[in-house]
């Protein structure tokens, strides 16, 4: 069995969980194994049907009053309890903030080997192989995990979710006994960052700005562009972040976020090696820079050499036209 941890936020299943489920279903078909989804904690009854429709044959609902607020130790306990019983060949989680926090804890609990932030999963000679970026994408390592189960986190936006079909399946509810206060630590509160709806790690389009923007106020230009495009987010170079022009959660690069959106637009960014490491796996790259020698043009599919303060407003007008259609 391949087991997929399903993450919900505000009562909805995250897109990246559907992606992990889709990939699990494809690899499970090759292995001739079933696919199951695990929901931890309170979740709307309607969610099961969505999971059946997208590849899960079974949905395990793991329940305890302790699961109302996320805690890595309690959620890991829930998944371990299930894994001990159903003995999956692998557990997939998406490499979201929660998945990255939870997966290694689960791996240690199960004494299992783990591959982080995978961008490819394959079946070779009957076992799973995981390919993942190292050095933020300067290289890729293909790994085999010599443990049962194997634990893997899958990078958001890389794997296709299965198109919903009218599948049905079985829901299995399991009560999990959580020892009281054995380890103390849980999420007390979630504070929304104003305006920032989509994280760069999850966006399909990223409009990034660098030192060429000259000041924090000019990030408004990029926000306006991003607002016109569905599922777009604003990113930044480290120089822009370190200058205090934008929060560090927007930083793209080797010490920021590694991203692979469909479209990455670098505005006033030179293309230092640390920046390129974080965004070179984007499907299409556009650069806007006044310096024709800027290294960013070496990786860009489309480039405009020019002053961003003229080019960005012109882009905005064009986008308005096509999205108004």
């Amino acid at each position: 069995m391949l087991l997929v941890f399903i993450e919900t936020r505000d009562g909805k299943i995250k897109k990246s969980s559907f992606e992990a489920l889709g990939e699990a279903a494809r690899r499970a078909a090759e292995l001739g194994a079933p696919v199951a989804a695990a929901l931890v904690g309170p979740a709307d009854a309607g969610l099961d049907a969505e999971l059946f429709a997208r590849g899960a044959a079974r949905v395990f609902r793991l329940e305890s009053p302790a699961f109302a607020a996320y805690s890595a130790q309690d959620y890991a306990l829930a998944l371990k309890t299930l894994a001990d019983e159903v003995k999956p060949a692998a557990v997939f989680l998406s490499a979201t903030a929660m998945g990255k926090d939870l997966a290694p804890r689960l791996a240690a609990k199960l004494d299992a080997a783990m591959a982080s932030d995978c961008t490819k999963v394959a079946v070779e000679g009957g076992s799973l192989e995981f390919t993942r970026p190292i050095f933020a994408g300067k290289a890729f390592a293909t790994l085999r995990l010599k443990s049962a189960p194997a634990i893997a986190t899958l990078r958001p936006n890389v794997f296709a979710a299965a198109a919903p079909c009218g599948g049905t399946g079985e829901t299995i509810v399991k009560a999990v006994a959580v020892p009281d206060g054995a380890v103390a630590g849980r999420v007390a509160e979630i504070l929304k960052e104003s305006g920032a709806e989509i994280d760069v790690g999850e966006a399909e389009v990223i409009i990034s700005g660098g030192r060429g923007l000259k000041g924090p106020e000019n990030f408004a230009l990029l926000r306006e562009l991003a607002a016109l495009i569905p599922r777009a987010a604003v990113g930044a170079s480290r120089s822009a972040v370190d200058s205090g022009w934008i929060g560090h959660s927007h930083q793209v690069g080797q010490t920021g976020k590694t991203v692979s959106p469909n479209l990455y637009v670098a505005v006033g960014i030179s293309g230092a090696i640390q920046h390129l490491a974080g965004m070179s796996s984007s499907k299409v790259i556009v650069a806007v820079n006044k310096d024709p020698e800027a290294p960013i043009f070496k990786v860009a599919d489309y480039g405009i050499v020019g002053d961003l303060f003229q080019v960005v407003p012109a882009l905005k007008d064009e986008l308005k036209k096509i999205f108004a259609e």
């Binding site: 903030a97 804890r105 070779e124 190292i134 929304k192």
Partner: protein, 260 residues
């Protein structure tokens, strides 16, 4: 407060990565090794906590002999002690193996502690595994990717980044916290610190001394291959006035690249 900080020796972020397909590993000749950038935030945070109260900061690393260079840097920044857990092996990508070495060292040599500080991820392996795994092995609460840490008596509060928001995590001590950029601004070593660090002896612990057998620390991640991606090709430069170029670009993105 007793604080243990875990740091890793990694190739610096300027490095061009070359791969030896035969050995299925990254070529290390000519690379410059440094303390992993996120670990510097962890060291800085430990020093600030000590300065705000009392206690001791001990820095530990699992790695080869050359790791003493980064441990000396931590001493020069102001850490009280540094210890090397000797591990000659090359990068295994097996976070649990490292976490087992760390957990064994903590249990055997540093059973009294309040806080274990890590970087959120080691540059290179990019695993982000060791902090949570160590927390599990030692039965501690965890708060990862911290951009803010407050300790008050026996409790801690961390702000951590999640998608488009921050999460407030509350926990009791002892605990594991991993550092994200934004937590603080790491200090530079002072000349006085560098001189003092020179004189300090860095004790070395071996896995055997921690009671770990070769079996216990055999990597369970098998590297099938390591490859560098095909270099991207420079694409089209779109000519014309800003307006013409913008119009042409949007057309190309829509009709040729099909990403809009």
């Amino acid at each position: 407060m007793e604080i243990l900080v875990f740091v890793k020796r990694v190739p610096d972020t300027e490095s061009k990565i070359r791969v030896n397909p035969e050995t299925r590993s990254v070529v290390e000749d000519g690379l410059n090794f440094v303390i992993s950038p996120f670990d510097e935030f962890a060291v800085e945070e430990a020093l600030r906590l000590r300065e705000a109260g009392t206690g001791k900061v001990t820095v530990l690393s699992v790695g080869p002999d050359e790791t003493t260079v980064i441990l000396k840097k931590c001493l020069a920044m102001g850490a009280d002690e540094a210890v090397l857990i000797k591990d000659a092996g090359r990068e295994t990508y097996d976070g649990l193996r490292t976490a087992k070495l760390i957990a064994a060292a903590v249990r055997k040599r540093f059973p009294q502690f309040d806080l274990l500080l890590f970087g959120k991820q080691s540059v290179g392996a990019d695993n982000g595994q060791v902090p949570s795994m160590t927390a599990e092995l030692l039965g501690l609460p965890q708060a990862n990717v911290a951009v803010k840490l407050e300790i008050d008596g026996g409790r801690g509060v961390v702000r951590r980044e999640i998608e488009g928001a921050t999460e407030k995590v509350e926990f009791s001590l002892p605990a594991v916290v991993s550092a994200q950029k934004g937590l603080n601004e790491p200090r530079y070593e002072t000349l006085k610190g560098i001189m003092a660090a020179k004189k300090k002896v860095i004790p070395v612990i071996t896995p055997e001394e921690l009671g770990l057998t070769n079996d216990d620390i055999a990597p369970r991640v098998e590297v099938v291959k390591i490859e560098t991606p095909a270099a991207r090709q420079a694409g089209k430069i779109i000519p014309g006035s800003p307006e013409e170029a913008a119009k042409a670009l949007v057309g190309l993105l829509r009709n040729e690249a099909k990403v809009l």
